[in-house]
């Protein structure tokens, strides 16, 4: 991308205009661009997120019904186990005293599954991104400090990482969310507390490499302070790595939240896909063969998680070109 610009040695004036904002941030931005230009899958993943994000933001507008309140028919009874209109035998609904407009039918107590699905995207993305952000930030900072300063800082932080590695993940989340009042935030925090470990370690080792590179010594020789070296020289080079782990963290977070909700340790007042599945299974959707209730949430989880994977792999391919497909 950069080369076209430089192809014809443009006059000094233009150059001087350009190089002034030529900065780490710009480079970083370009790395990110590169990721999505180079890797179609990564781009695909990004699109998935984009779509779900829009859905999440406008959920109340998109969702035809309130996801929590059961829908009632003319007699004021709940419209239970209504099939999706495209599956239901015609006329059945009139007989039951309602008009079937349900894209994915209703639950066993008459909640609109489609609306739940829409609202589910909210908690999924909320969990995914907040956890990812937390993980990336903690991991990066830890990695930077441990890697750059070494010695005791390193020792302590890495022992902490070992401890984090020693704590069984799912059980920890379960226990925490069972002990504190059910809320996705507890899940997010619990995950952040453990998940930074990989990011931290990898970034640390990366820092160890970079800090030995000549341009860092050069900075030190020309008198740059530690903070300057860390944040001006090293940090930008490892940020893509944090993104990489961030995007994987999104995936894990969403999966974990789903599992925890499925085991019934989540807040029933905030619809999440995991909760929907839990509801479905406890309401015996399988025996009802209500696949229109079971399959969609699962697919949504799968999609978002894969989006995370795709983006992560996109970064991998740019950061570790060895893996690049030729």
């Amino acid at each position: 991308m950069q080369q076209e610009a430089s192809a014809r040695g443009e006059p000094a004036g233009v150059a001087t205009m350009q190089f002034r904002q030529g900065s780490a941030i710009r480079q970083l931005w370009e790395t990110n661009l590169e990721v999505f230009q180079r890797d179609r899958m990564a781009l695909f993943g990004l699109c998935i997120f984009a779509v779900f994000a829009i859905v999440a933001i406008f959920a109340p507008q998109i969702a035809p019904n309130n996801p929590l309140t059961p829908l009632k028919n003319n007699e004021g009874d709940w419209i239970k186990d209504a099939m999706p209109y495209w599956l239901a035998e015609p006329g059945e609904d009139e007989a039951e005293g309602y008009t079937n407009t349900f894209l994915l039918g209703t639950t066993n107590i008459g909640r609109d599954i489609y609306s739940q699905l829409i609202h589910g995207s909210r908690s999924a993305l909320l969990v995914g991104f907040s956890a990812a952000a937390a993980v990336a930030v903690i991991g990066t900072v830890v990695g930077l400090l441990a890697g750059y300063y070494g010695g005791w800082v390193d020792a302590i932080l890495m022992r902490a990482a070992d401890v984090a590695f020693g704590i069984p993940f799912i059980p920890f989340i379960i226990v925490v969310s069972a002990f504190l009042d059910p809320s996705i935030w507890n899940v997010v925090v619990a995950m952040a507390v453990l998940l930074w470990r990989d990011t931290g370690r990898v970034i640390r080792s990366q820092v160890l490499v970079i800090k030995e590179q000549a341009f860092v010594s050069a900075a030190r020789v020309s008198g740059a302070s530690n903070l300057r070296i860390i944040f001006v020289y090293i940090a930008p080079s490892i940020l893509p790595l944090s993104f990489l782990y961030g995007s994987f963290a999104i995936a894990w977070a969403i999966l974990t939240e789903a599992s925890v909700s499925f085991l019934g340790f989540s807040d029933p007042e905030t619809i999440s896909w995991g909760f929907m599945l839990q509801d479905a299974f406890n309401s015996l959707a399988l025996s009802r063969e209500a696949f229109y209730w079971i399959v969609p949430p699962g697919l949504c989880i799968m999609l978002t998680v894969m989006a995370g994977f795709f983006i992560g792999r996109g970064y991998e391919e740019v950061l570790f070109p060895r893996l690049r497909r030729m």
Partner: protein
């Protein structure tokens, strides 16, 4: 003189006039936010949804309501320890909670509920956690216990008790579940299945009476709850008591219509209201071959009574029973006298109508030669009680005997051939299957042939039965019931009218139709409709579902609503 009168009269008049505007409506402060407890959606969807429904209706009354859904274990604990302001687990006492009582054979005598749920003596530590305190009622509750001889008279008392509770609306009962059970009629003859009032088909009489049609004479059932103990001196839940009642005989058993009748006892004869002579059947054997004798029977009660008296730090004497679960049922026994090998006499402290039901028909007969050493040992130690005991091979004298038991996995019993009422099936197996889908899968696949416990959506069960002709659905009104309990100690629930108003916000029919799919009976009392005898009272007051009704009621009592529509207490 007359002037005095006049002046007094005038004064009185003036006072009246002055008083008038005061007594006329002024708005009190707003009713504070209310928290309503229930179990989680994951654990029992039905109860969760019901509560949700009611909470929404309560909001329509202009109340600020929060629905707090927590796991059962946590719920029961929270309610139990936050009954008063010096709450051990919450920053304030609980206010209102969804609750349920399960049916058990011994509960087919109204005594347990009548007394333990409402008597003021069990208000602080016991099960009267709602804090109901009504001397008039206490009197009744005690009276019906003593009324041994005259059943009619006792019925009177029970009815009156029900009236009071219903009027005071201490607990807002709304349904007795119809416990649905599915039997694989390809394996069993449906006519051989007994239905016990308030319990359903999964009862002792069925276990011994049910006739296998094929050569496979094994009954396989399952429970979604827990199988924690195999112990004649411990009550650790519904499923385990099924097992103990089959493995250990009892002097009497509650018969299908809910009345105790002699079982291991040949006869039970009341000499007077305090003395009863029990004579054992001849020739009964323990599963290890020993004879069952009167001293075993006696010891069964002594074991339940056994315990040590300790003085705690503030010098208070405290009795610690070794069998805490059964001690209450034996507590009334003052003395046991062995007459001969087969007969013995019980002497009670106080006359008790429920003695047969809740003692003779409740305590398991345990072999003295096995338990005496154990109990004596326990009496030495103060760090453990019978709950910490698990026999290697449990020995009883019941119609079924132990084959294998894997905690929270399964129980495997086989018919005891030397029993005088040998069951028609050869083996009885109970699996623990917390996963309801699995349960359904197994009953259909034939991996299981008797589904006796179903916490899930009854509608699904119905449809399963419709799809498989070899499955039959049985259901009976349970002794148990679902209701909302109010903590009557504190405002706003200390006000009868308010409670009654809340009762009006419970859409009973709707719940039965929509949430229970019709598999529930409307409830209005702690005595289930299943116990026909004890329901022969004049009708109890009804509280139809009507938000307006509730509003009217409150208005009448001086409650009022502000501009935002929030409910306020009556003025002064």
């Amino acid at each position: 003189m007359s002037r005095k009168l006049v002046s007094i009269a005038v004064l009185a008049m003036m006072l009246l006039v002055l008083a008038l505007p005061v007594t006329s409506q002024t708005m009190g402060e707003a009713v504070p936010p209310i928290i309503v407890h229930s179990v989680t959606q994951a654990e029992r969807p039905i109860e969760y949804e019901t509560t949700r429904l009611v909470v929404e209706n309560m909001r329509e009354l202009g109340l600020e309501v929060e629905h707090r859904a927590i796991p059962w274990a946590q719920l029961i604990h929270e309610i139990w320890y936050s009954r008063t302001t010096d709450s051990a687990v919450a920053d304030r006492p609980f206010q209102m909670t969804h609750w349920r009582m399960v049916g058990r054979p011994e509960r087919s005598d109204p005594d347990e509920f009548t007394y333990n749920l409402f008597h003021s003596s069990v208000r602080d530590g016991g099960y009267n956690f709602i804090g109901y305190n009504n001397p008039e009622y206490d009197a009744l509750a005690e009276a019906q216990r003593v009324e041994v001889a005259d059943r009619e008279a006792r019925l009177e008392l029970i009815c009156e008790a029900q009236q009071i509770i219903r009027n005071d609306m201490v607990n807002a009962y709304f349904i007795h579940p119809l416990t649905p059970q599915v039997v694989n009629t390809a394996n069993f003859n449906p006519d051989s299945i007994t239905t016990q009032a308030g319990i359903g088909v999964h009862n002792f009489w069925t276990w011994i009476g049910i006739e296998p049609t094929g050569d496979d004479k094994t009954l396989i059932t399952s429970t979604t709850s827990f199988l924690q103990a195999f112990n004649p001196l411990e009550i650790s839940g519904d499923a385990p008591s099924r097992v103990t009642e089959m493995t250990w005989d009892r002097l009497m058993r509650i018969n299908p219509i809910g009345v105790p009748e002699p079982w291991a006892a040949e006869s039970v004869v009341w000499e007077d209201s305090l003395n009863v002579v029990v004579t054992l059947r001849a020739g009964m054997k323990w599963h290890d071959g020993e004879d069952v004798q009167s001293d075993d029977a006696a010891y069964s009660f002594e074991a339940a009574l056994a315990g040590t008296t300790q003085t705690d730090e503030d010098g208070k004497e405290e009795f610690r029973p070794e069998a805490p679960d059964y001690h209450p049922f034996a507590r009334n026994v003052a003395d046991i006298e062995i007459i001969d090998d087969l007969s013995l006499r019980f002497t009670l402290h106080t006359p008790s109508a429920a003695f047969e039901t809740s003692s003779l028909a409740k305590l398991n007969l345990i072999p003295k030669h096995i338990w005496e050493p154990i109990i004596n040992d326990l009496l030495e130690r103060d760090d453990a009680d019978v709950d910490s005991i698990q026999e290697e091979i449990p020995i009883g004298s019941g119609p079924f005997k132990y084959v294998a038991f894997d905690v929270n996995e399964f129980v495997f019993l086989e018919a005891f051939d030397d029993h005088w009422a040998r069951p028609k099936i050869d083996a009885w197996i109970m699996n623990v299957l917390p996963n309801q889908e699995a349960t359904l899968g197994q009953i259909q696949a034939g991996e299981m042939n008797f589904l006796w416990e179903w916490p899930g959506d009854p509608g699904v069960l119905q449809s399963i039965v419709d799809d498989n002709e070899h499955l039959d659905l049985f259901s009976a009104i349970s002794i148990g019931m679902n209701y909302f309990a109010f903590n009557v100690r504190y405002a706003p629930f200390d006000d009868v009218t308010f409670r009654q108003a809340i009762a009006h916000t419970i859409p009973q029919e709707f719940i039965i139709d929509n949430i229970f799919n019709g598999l529930a009976a409307p409830a209005d009392s702690f005595v289930s409709a299943a116990l026909e005898y004890w329901r022969q009272c004049e009708d109890l007051p009804t509280y139809d579902f009507s938000i307006d009704g509730a509003r009217a009621l409150l208005e009448g009592a001086g409650y009022s609503w502000d501009d935002e529509g929030r409910l306020h207490y009556p003025g002064n």
